[in-house]
Each structure stands twice: as structure tokens, then as C-alpha cells.
Symmetry: C3
Subunit: 174 residues, 3 copies
């Protein structure tokens, strides 16, 4: 009977309760370190997106530029139902995140299940994460071109690599 130290970090459970097996001695949980690493970086990026959403709201309030008449009415009057370049910039950053971070989450999850080298996988996730954070900072602070485009392109490299590896592994099953 194999005991798991209580001090160990919680692991991602397969959801399949092996303890039901008569005489079973399995750990109840999965030990996919790559999936854990993927979950960490992806969650950081989702939180980063939430921060962009919060910034957008703050800029709307500060610049008094609301997308909906009902919001403008509550914040000074219908004349504030208008567009603002800084709000639009936040929205473009957010949209670009959706166009790129959501695909990463799909590719990274499947890639994590393909049994890749944990250190190589972590490099993929790390490069993407840093690239996207730099992208957001460059976008919101209006850094000089091509800072933002370079960050975008660097972040795409691990995505193309993962997509290629998934296709190599799954093409026999098309």
C-alpha cells in the first residue's frame, strides 16, 4: 500500500475513483506534472485578461465613455454614451487576448496529454505567458512599434510548435 505524503501539493484528479477497486492501492489522483504546469500558466493568463477587463471599466469611468445608454445615464447623462480611444485600445487588447490565449488553452491542454518532456513543455508555456504579458503591457502603455508585434510573434512560436506536434500525433485518427 502506497501512501501519499499529506504535505504534497494537491494533484489533478483523474476523477476516476480507483479506491473502489477491491484491494486497490492506487493513488486517487493523476500525476501529470505537465498538465499542472499548463494549468498554472493558463490561469495566470486568464487572470491577466480579467485585469484588462477591470482596467477597461476604470478607463470608462475616468474618461466618461460608456457603451450603453443605461450606464451613461447612471454616470452623468446620455452625453457620456460615446466612444473613447483609450477605451477602444483596452478593448482591442482584450480581443487580441481572446484570439490568442483561448487557442493556447486548447493547444496546451491537448499537448499536455501527449506525454511531452516536462521541461520542454514548461518552456513552451513560459514563452507564451511572458510574450502575452509583454503584449498587453505594450498595448496599454502604447509602447513604440514593433514591441507589441514582436511579443505577439514570439508568443505564437510555442503555439505553432504545439499545433504541429498535435497534428503529428493525431493525423492517423483523422
Amino acid at each position: 500500500m502506497r501512501l501519499r505524503a499529506l504535505s504534497q501539493p494537491r494533484r489533478i484528479s483523474a476523477g476516476w475513483d480507483c479506491s473502489r477497486r477491491p484491494g486497490g492501492s492506487f493513488p486517487r489522483t493523476m500525476e501529470n506534472k505537465v498538465l499542472m504546469s499548463f494549468a498554472f500558466y493558463s490561469t495566470i493568463l486568464i487572470l491577466k485578461m480579467y485585469v484588462v477587463a477591470i482596467i477597461t471599466g476604470q478607463v470608462r469611468l475616468r474618461k466618461k465613455a460608456f457603451a450603453n445608454p443605461e450606464d451613461a445615464l447612471r454616470n452623468g447623462g446620455l452625453q457620456y454614451h460615446r466612444e473613447d480611444p483609450d477605451v477602444e485600445r483596452c478593448r482591442r487588447a482584450h480581443r487580441n487576448d481572446m484570439e490568442n490565449i483561448f487557442p493556447f488553452i486548447f493547444l496546451g491542454a491537448i499537448y499536455s496529454l501527449l506525454d511531452p518532456s516536462p521541461s520542454v513543455a514548461r518552456i513552451h508555456f513560459f514563452i507564451f505567458c511572458v510574450g502575452r504579458i509583454v503584449h498587453t503591457v505594450a498595448y496599454l502603455l502604447k509602447l513604440k512599434a514593433p514591441t507589441r508585434s514582436v511579443a505577439y510573434s514570439v508568443a505564437q512560436l510555442p503555439c505553432f510548435s504545439m499545433a504541429l506536434q498535435i497534428l503529428l500525433a493525431t493525423t492517423p485518427y483523422w
Copy 2:
């Protein structure tokens, strides 16, 4: 040999055919009730998004406001290639769903694998689901502020809770 009653609901399969094991007596399927609950609420929300898409199309036809010249041509002429505030409202509701429901789907899936208490997990999913449905209703029916913002904020609470729990579990693997 453990038999599974045929009347039981179909379960999420791990995809790993345990019956191949010589002398195996495993059920073929996973029994992650949290994952099943997560799948239920997420599917409801995806269907809700499809409903917003269908409503957008209906409003486009009713208000005669088409985003593409080829659609306007088919529906009365190029003068109907134009914007409309009600169509834009539907599109904002849909975009806000993408900004929030897709992250929930990622967070909820990982959280479901962390072996949480089923009742606590269900509360997370339920609050998010109700919050997002109220958000859409408030958006499309132009309910007075801050109904929509409150629904948005309430729905974010389980998301932040799940993100925090994922980070606590996965930080050792960064």
C-alpha cells in the same frame, strides 16, 4: 465482478478502455460527478450564447441592418448595409459572454479535476450560470443600471475562487 445498472445515466468515459485488462473488473467509465455537473452548466451557457447569436440574426433581419454588403443585397439593397444600436447591443452581450464564459469553461474544467467537494463545486457553477443568464437578460432588455454590472460581478466571484484554488494547487509546478 461489479455490474453497472443499465438504467444509470451515461458517464463521462476516461477513454481508457479498462476492459482490455486481463481479468479486469473496472467500470469502463469515469465517475467524476463534479465534471458532469460542470459539463451540464457549461453546456447550458454555450446554448445561451447560441441563443444570443440567433437573436442577433433576427434583430438584423427585423431592423434591416447587415454587416456585409452581400447580405444587404439579398435583403432589400445596399442601403441596409448599416449599423443599428439594437444589433450592436446584441453583439456587445455576445462579446461579453466570450470574455467571461470561455474563461469559466477553462477554470471550471481544471477545478473539476482538483477533486473539490461536489456540493461546493456545484455552488460555484450554479452562481456563475445564474449570474450570466441574468447578465444577458439585463443586457438585451436594457434593464436599469447597475443590474447588468451586479450580475457580472456576482458571476466573477466563483471564477476568482476557482482561479485561486487552481493557483494554490499548481504553483509548485510552475
Copy 3:
């Protein structure tokens, strides 16, 4: 002890290292053919979305229409910080992809875990994939209505089918 031929394609790993089990003779990997097929078609569609993003960038450069002043400055001057109908068309195609391909990825992943018939599942994925590729071609090449809408509607059929099957399987766990 069951040996896995090296010539076999790599399989999606459950992440649960069965070889740790004393005396274990499990393969280390999942053999969910439906999940592999799903991963293949989804990755094709994600790459298709990346192509739309690249086309958008090329159209911006060719038509000299940049969303950000810093990009316009680098490409000829602030007068090129402007909108362009062809760029907006690419962006609408990309947004429509986000509205539909991301939900497919969620539905397809859960559906793959529900132990569906592999051939029926593949038909679902194939129809969606072809429908979305036709949708993009019809959008970017401005094909006559209703080509694009028909492609959109056909692609939604497997999504509704999968959503229904997920609800049937998960409703007991709401």
C-alpha cells in the same frame, strides 16, 4: 506484459503513470480514438483561425489601415490610423470563428469523453470542420449570400447534436 509497438502513433496520455503500480502491466496512455480525432479537427480549425489573423495583418499592410497610431506611425504616418472595409471583413470572419469554434472545442471535448461511436463522432467533427472552412472562404472572398449563412448553419448542426447528447448524459448531475 503488454508491449506497445514503437511504430504506433503517439497516444494521448491520461497523465496517470500506471507503471508506478507494483506489478503493473498497463499501457501508460489513453486510447481514446474519438479524443484523438477531435484533437485533429480542432487543431486544423485553430490553425485556420491563425491564417485569418495573418491575412488580417497582410490586408492592414496592403491597404494601409492600422488600428493603432503607433503602428500607423511606423508604416507611413498617422493618416493610416484608419478603418478599412476589407480589414473589417477579416475581423468579422475572425470574430465569428471565436463565437463558434471555441464552443465547438468545449462541446467536442466533453462529447469525446461520453464514449460515443467513433464513426458517428468523426462525422460530427468532419461536418463542423468543413462547414467552418467554407464559412471563412465565403466570408473572405465575399461569395454571394446565402453561401456563408448556409455554411454557418450546417456547422451548427453537429454542435447542437453534441450539446443535446451532453445534456442528456449530465442532467442527472445538475
